[in-house]
Symmetry: none
Subunit: 198 residues, 4 copies
DNA sequence: CATGAATGAGTCTTCATTCAT
DNA sequence: AATGAATGAAGACTCATTCAT
């Protein structure tokens, strides 16, 4: 009856399940992934699964929250004196790099199908907010420094950067001949053109 | 002797079912939409569904094919002497207008989740091919006329136009404060910047 | 508004449907045969089917009754002065010949699965009664003429002849290398041994 | 750590389901038996069914295989020095005794209707092979010992013994006034006559 | 904690039968 | 009479979740 909870071990196993789910969701979509498949991939029993996540959806939310936290952390580790456009480009590079995990594009597609669920929609909105809140100040600063056009406000410009980024990620996910390596350079160019004052 | 087949009525009802499915898929996703829900929405019995579409998936494919045919038709009705950039912008307008059916963005999301199915993937690939094949010649012609930059080939430039368009549509679908009316002007500007020779 | 009922044409079409059903039942079993398949095979519309037979089961019963009538007719055309054992052997030959329609064995199997239905059970019982009633008098006459053993009564002996015949037909239906042509001679021998006085 | 798998309990429950299915199939045929009915009879939930048998058909195959295994075992426990004709008669008795389970004849009929399915056909062929392979050597030995006629080869003679046995079982199944108890003696006599050298 | 057997509500799909034309 | 579109009840099977061990 000793205290058998080992928080470290618990957290490790949680991550194993999350990783397995990422693999499965990416391969077969959210609805197409059974909890049994995740358990198999994670090497656990079906009962164990529900010790860590009360529902299948809560697992999806956990993954989304993990991504949001990661983004938040990335922005919070920018130093105040960095170059505004440099941060924007670093964000592009960071995003492209994240997508080098070949499962990510598939996972993004998988999430789309569940957007009807209010909780998922809320989690995605939270994620979008974090990105917007992270990026917008730098773009505003770029405007103040006359690096960035001012005919659109910072909020809309940020939205349009994300339009390009999301379109880029979507095409990575759906077109095998469209790769981050080959097109990353063009991405930077397009965003520069989008933001440029001219 | 008795002509019980009324092809017109048949086609009309087929379209009613397709319309109902569009509504349901957009609202609750593909997997989240039951055939019963489609039947209810279309005002038909569950058995009738089977008369028109052998499976739920075949209905999805029919919708996709309809869209592909529509796109093909749009491009084939361009006249050879139209202005290259004018056609590109007309395509942007056409796409944005199509998406003014508020169900379309949701439907696009819904489709993403089924991409695991080979038939769906093939249908989407066919659709992408039609768009690419429709747009690329005009961009190439724009290059020949020195309206469009030539540091990227027509194929890649077309892909990037679609990156922007898809990103635009995606944001329409997910952000209520991002509307086609308000942002359509920016879309044209971004694509112009993307293609411009400077 | 003329009297369009042409009894001859009606009867002919009835037989076409029965023939088609025989083919389908033999190939795919009773439950495995859809009314649609029968209609296709018969070259009629599904509505027409139900003009001729109120239910699928009634069609099966019609086929069974047809066979029963055929058997009854066969026995009623025996002349009173025929040789008792000769009639028994003629019956064996007659049965074997009927089974030369390759659909018959399959149809027999198909019927087995529906025997739970009271109406079908009754039809089969009627058929069995006709055979028993047709054959038993000849076997009794064979006993009276000392051609046939008398340690079993005519009723049981008849039953045993049918045991052998049914086993024979069943094996024809299930074993491709067991053919009526090759084994017909043995069938006669076995029945002779069964009935012989020794 | 926790041994949640209890193979004994698992096997027991498997047999409960098989037994329930035997009852249902015999009473209402294969197609006429719903999985729900089997579950009710077995006292399990519908989902549990799937834990033990992936499909309704697999359950049927399991029953057939069980019978085949039982037959194989029966033959393999004959001792080499047994009397040839004694073994044949013991087999007759064994079969008749098996059929004293009143569900068996009905089950045999039920199987007939599914013979269209290749897997079922294969299972039945396997079963027939085991019987033929089990019986034929003893009949051949009977021929060598001059106990059995030699004008037909052992293979055909075995087939004919099975013709009689199957006809016997079929009549047990369909005619209530034809009982194993009353007719068992005749069965032995008929087979003796069939095999006798005279 | 870990397990996996058990559950049953919910899904897609089938098909005999009806009926307006 | 003949047609085939429409129907809806019913069936096999799936799978997230629970719980006794």
């Amino acid at each position: 009856m000793a205290r058998t909870v080992d928080p470290e071990r618990h957290e490790a196993r949680r991550l194993v399940i999350i990783d397995a789910a990422l693999t499965c969701f990416a391969a077969t979509g959210y609805a197409g992934t059974t909890t049994a498949a995740i358990c198999r991939e994670a090497g656990i029993g079906s009962g164990t699964f529900f010790h860590y996540f009360p529902t299948k959806q809560s697992l999806l939310l956990a993954i989304l929250d993990l991504g949001t936290a990661e983004t938040r952390e990335w922005f919070s580790s920018r130093r105040p004196d960095e170059d505004a456009l440099g941060v924007v480009e670093a964000y592009l590079a960071h995003t492209a790099e994240e997508m080098s995990d070949p499962r990510l594009p598939g996972f993004v597609r998988a999430v789309g199908s569940v957007m009807g669920e209010p909780e998922v929609e809320a989690a995605l909105a939270r994620d979008a907010d974090v990105v917007q809140a992270g990026l917008e100040p730098w773009i505003a600063r770029g405007q103040a420094a006359a690096q960035v056009r001012t005919d659109l406000d910072a909020h809309d410009l940020t939205a349009w950067v994300l339009v390009v980024v999301d379109g880029f990620l979507g095409r990575l996910a759906t077109h095998a001949d469209f790769t981050a390596d080959a097109q990353g350079r063009v991405l930077r160019d397009v965003v520069r053109r989008l933001l440029s004052a001219s």
